[in-house]
């Protein structure tokens, strides 16, 4: 085990220095011919370096989405110095730089290391970046801050010798609110912090995952005492490591292991292993946790009168609309969490320029206790902002195109990079997202429609979580032409549901008209403006929406 936030810790800094030096030598050996591509590829992937359609892509982890201003500034610096001036935030709260040159990556890596970020285990069959609620430490419905737990998992899983060659990649997410905001059912392991009879613990979900055979996770342990977390995780991982399939890449995720063996059999193995593992934990993890809790102590909240905020809301309609849409309730009165959507009309979902990164870093330092998060929807969050400071924050964000009032709306679309970047893609996804957003912005319908989650993936791997979209869109190649399949009724959160395929796919230029018909049907059919698209779909079933999508068949 090594300690976390490297800027506080020499041992970790030394570890990162060593790793980056090692990678620099590996690149050198690839260039001078002493390593073949076959030998080099797994080494570069272990460091988050992919080769995409037009360039190398460098994927950097943002553990549980948390960034300091210095770190965000450094991401901006890297974007400018070694990339094309922007980065792409993903649903897994990584950032991907799409235009790195192989020869530059060791320098870029070293720069990131200087502020404690790295790309270790952002690829390969290892435990990947841990996700947590973006409103951690701020949300009004939170039982406790999930970040110390997420950090504990990160410390434990990084370079964990036993879990470097798992059957397949492994993703963990932690949720702490009464509402699940971390899509725990879509992860290999999902953890919900819960309380039973006054005791804190975890509800443990296992076997979720999307991709070509999507599965929602199942509850393997309804209540796990908090102190047992690491031995229990270790038990799940070790059972998976031994029983997960290695003969077929498409059947190697834990979702298949659990589905094939059955949850009860899998659980029995895990419990037996857990009984053993538990003995091996000496309590060091709990000591580390105590330190982490101190490190994630809340900032010193300052009271400030909110009259100015209320007056600004009354005076400025655009500001009011932004505060109606892009704020999340904070546990401290007089504070709010702000969602900075990276979804301005015409923008690429999740993309952020170096200039915007610097500006948000400065604003976070000045107005948001220096705390920045990346959320699951490819947006940024400033978790702690005094309401009194919101007018100033809004104006500053607006100046760089970051004050779009559309969080959770039809224009706040998750999209994977698709065939504009990705070698695995079967079709493009970003331009579809842009067209849909531009269309509904032009129709002025975002507020009228209310909450609507559109999710787009450029292939069956489902990086855009399309199965969990209220409307999901999957780009395919049908006889050499891009074609888009629509799924309906997916939900990643409170009532996890996989979307159902609506019918035949649409050519690219027919996607917007199809979504338009769907939305019109919904507006027509809903019982009241409070009934979301998803609710109306659940009430009415697929038939009326299918009729809207395929009027010729009706």
């Amino acid at each position: 085990m090594f300690d976390a936030r490297p800027q506080h810790n020499d041992q970790h800094r030394e570890y990162l220095r060593h790793r980056t030096q090692q990678f620099r030598q590996q690149v050198q050996r690839r260039l001078d011919g002493s390593l073949t591509e076959e030998e080099f590829r797994p080494l570069r992937l272990k460091n988050g370096v992919y080769l995409q359609l037009h360039s190398y892509m460098y994927r950097v982890a943002i553990p549980y989405g948390a960034l300091t201003p210095d770190q965000l500034r450094m991401l901006g610096h890297v974007a400018e110095r070694w990339d094309r001036g922007y980065g792409h935030f993903t649903t897994r709260t990584n950032i991907q730089f799409h235009w790195h040159k192989l020869v530059d990556i060791p320098d870029s890596m070293e720069a990131l290391n200087s502020v404690g970020i790295h790309s270790i285990q952002t690829s390969g069959n290892t435990i990947r970046n841990v996700n947590a609620d973006a409103f951690a430490g701020a949300a009004d419905d939170e039982l406790e801050d999930p970040r110390p737990w997420a950090e504990l998992i990160r410390i434990w899983s990084t370079d964990h010798a036993e879990f470097q060659f798992l059957p397949r990649k492994f993703k963990i997410s932690v949720s702490a609110g009464k509402q699940d905001r971390s899509a725990v059912s879509a992860y290999d392991i999902g953890l919900r912090i819960v309380e039973r009879d006054g005791q804190r613990g975890f509800q443990v979900w296992v076997g979720g995952g999307l991709g070509r055979t999507p599965y929602l996770g199942q509850v393997i342990r309804d209540f796990l005492p908090q102190a047992d977390l690491l031995p229990y995780l270790e038990a799940i991982l070790s059972v998976y490591n031994l029983t997960g399939r290695r003969d077929n890449k498409w059947k190697a995720r834990i979702k298949i292991t659990v589905a094939e063996r059955g949850l009860d059999v899998f659980r029995a193995d895990v419990e037996a292993e857990f009984a053993q593992r538990r003995q091996q934990f000496s309590g060091l993890d709990q000591e580390i946790l105590r330190d982490l809790r101190a490190r994630f102590a809340p900032p010193e909240f300052r009271d400030a009168p909110v009259q100015g905020y209320e007056a600004a809301r009354a005076a400025n309609g655009a500001f009011r609309s932004w505060t109606d849409t892009n704020l999340h309730p904070h546990r401290i009165p007089g504070y709010a969490s702000v969602i900075v959507t990276l979804k301005a009309p015409g923008a690429t979902p999740g993309d952020m320029s170096a200039e915007q990164m610097r500006l948000v870093a400065d604003l976070a330092e000045r107005l948001a206790h220096g705390d920045i998060r990346v959320n699951h929807d490819q947006n940024l969050v400033l978790p702690h902002v005094r309401k009194a400071d919101l007018p100033e924050l809004y104006e500053a964000l607006r100046a760089v195109g970051l004050a779009t009032a559309n969080f959770g709306k039809i224009t706040d679309i998750i999209s994977c990079p698709g065939m504009d970047y990705c070698t695995l893609a079967t079709a493009r996804s970003i331009p579809i997202a842009q067209d849909i957003a531009a269309h509904f912005r032009a129709r002025g319908l975002e507020d009228e429609i209310g909450e609507m989650k559109i999710r787009i993936s450029g292939c069956i791997n489902a990086c855009g979580h399309h199965h969990l979209g209220h409307i999901g869109i999957l780009g395919l190649d049908r006889a050499g032409v891009e074609n888009y399949q629509i799924t309906l009724g997916g939900d990643g959160y409170e009532t996890p549901t996989l979307g159902q395929r609506a019918g035949a796919g649409f050519p690219a230029d027919q996607v917007v008209p199809a979504i338009d018909r769907l939305v019109d049907a919904y507006l027509e059919l809903r019982e009241s403006p409070d009934e979301r698209f998803l609710d109306a779909y659940r009430r009415l079933g697929v038939a009326p929406f299918k009729a809207a999508l395929y009027p010729a068949d009706a």
Partner: protein, 108 residues
């Protein structure tokens, strides 16, 4: 994607890869690599294409992942992409922000 593809006069092919150091797309012509897709050599003969591909694979110090892929002969005799994936590899990303950013960059 090039699996099973056999070039012929009716369905010619090009050999393409990514540059090892920089990552950008490159195409083969006379055993060397060019970043200009329109300068790529069109292979119409299976045996010649196979030999060229062997040569491409042997140049692992310069390129990554070379493959033979179908192309079309354009009106000017130069290669045109046969599939949209190859068209995007030639054009670069197509989405708006990217092109706007590029256009703005070229105006300064």
């Amino acid at each position: 994607m090039s699996k099973g593809f056999t070039p012929s006069p009716a369905t010619p092919g090009v050999i393409t890869a990514n540059d090892l150091r920089m990552g950008h797309c490159v195409w083969m012509r006379d055993g060397r690599w060019t970043a200009d897709p329109r300068a790529a050599e069109l292979f119409e003969d299976e045996a010649i294409a196979e030999l060229a591909l062997l040569d491409a694979v042997s140049q692992a110090d310069l390129v990554v992942g070379p493959y033979l892929v179908e192309a079309k002969r354009g009106a000017d005799g130069r290669p045109e992409p046969a599939h949209f994936r190859e068209a995007f590899r030639r054009s670069g990303p197509t989405h708006k922000h990217f092109q706007q950013a590029e256009a703005e960059a070229s105006h300064v």
